[in-house]
Amino acid sequence: MRDVKQFISTASGTIQQDHNHDGIDRRGFLKCMAWAGSGALCVVEAGVLKSTALGAQLGSMKNPGGSKKLSFVQISDSHMGFNKPANPDVVATLKAAVNKINALPDPPDFILHTGDITHLSTPEQFDTVEQILKSTNKEVFFVPGEHDVLNDDGAMFRERYGRNAKGAGWYSFNQNGVHFIGLVNVMNLKAGGLGNLGSEQLKWLEDDLGAVKHSTPVVVFAHIPLWTVYPQWGWGTDDGALALSHLKKFGSVTVLNGHIHQTMQKVEGNVTFHTACSTAFPQPSPGQAEGPGPMKVPSDQLRKVLGITDINYLARRRALALVDSSLA
């Protein structure tokens, strides 16, 4: 792929620009304001990067033209049942996330949960999350994390959330002109490997996309990053590139993942990759600790490293805007 640029948001707010022709006569700016403790904003607008202040950008989204058509929130890694020092009260922080969602000036149309709903796949943990999320009064679309399929190959997850899904729980739907695809990459993992989609799911994906116009914005969501973030810690998907190869023809693709309990972004041609914070506990930056386990931060700092992601689709401007907000 030509002109591949990667940027990972840091406290210093580094921004790189990607002037990339993708063959679809689309050229624009990707706006990115890396976070300074409280949130990040990136706007992909017709393929070109721009940068503005968070507040200014939020204001411009509510333009009088009424171009905003769709808004949704991503939450991830609620790990219900976790009770170790990194966060002894994951109920409270999930409730804080719900309060954050309910307080959004533009109420979302629905919520995506990108997995690790529970810590240990118990019915009680699933029930608790369901109860807490009820107060959003929004439909929630789930994909499983590896913590949700611990002892039964995902049977309980599919019973609750995957009744209309295919295979291990993958599915797609259309909403306001955007095509959404939920993928499962936490099943049948191979020794020494990374996340795994499998040939059956990849075939389904190819068929599913065959019926979608290339001008349709596509949002793909799955638990483990579909791009290789840090393979030493298992932060990637072995056959993720095969999935992405089916998405090359589309003008606007947004890939939303969880699993790594921190926000990261990368833009590669027509694809914007984004990972969300956990609502439960943070994990270290790649390679910055001996292992990827839960990271203990001072208790008064915890909610600054947990959060939600608010995504807005502006049809008239052909843009998907992602705003990460901490729970602090």
């Binding site: 976790f82 170790k84 810590h119 240990l120 590896e146 020494g192 298992g234 292992g291």
Partner: protein, 115 residues
């Protein structure tokens, strides 16, 4: 008719067999069964490679803040999700090399060699 020196040889032979069978256990470490502990800590098995005698029992203990699943690559054994401080034991009754991993963190791998 058994000749006297043949009888002596037979008796000596039996004594030798008894000596081998009844020798003190401390001298038979190559063949005695063992109970081995493997710590699961910081997303690694330690020790990662263990060699034991037939009929030895391996016990894994999870010391991480996240669950792990002990699973052999060929399906010979598989634990439930082990929360912090949970144990899982398996008795290896046949010689062979058993590769295993954590089925939810597949970068974690280990090997049990049963002799």
């Amino acid at each position: 008719m058994l000749r006297p020196h043949s009888l002596l040889a037979t008796i000596l032979g039996l004594a030798l067999i008894l000596a081998v069978v009844l020798r003190p256990s401390g001298a038979s470490s190559q063949t005695a069964t063992q109970a081995i502990e493997i710590k699961v800590d910081n997303f690694t098995f330690s020790p990662a490679v263990v060699t034991v005698a037939e009929n030895s029992t391996i016990t894994w203990t999870n010391k991480d803040d996240v669950p792990h699943v002990i699973a052999s690559t060929d399906g010979a054994f598989r634990s439930k999700g082990l929360d912090t401080d949970d144990h899982y034991s398996f008795k290896f009754t046949r010689p062979g090399t058993y590769s295993y991993y954590c089925s939810i963190h597949p970068k974690m791998t280990g090997k049990i060699i049963v002799q």
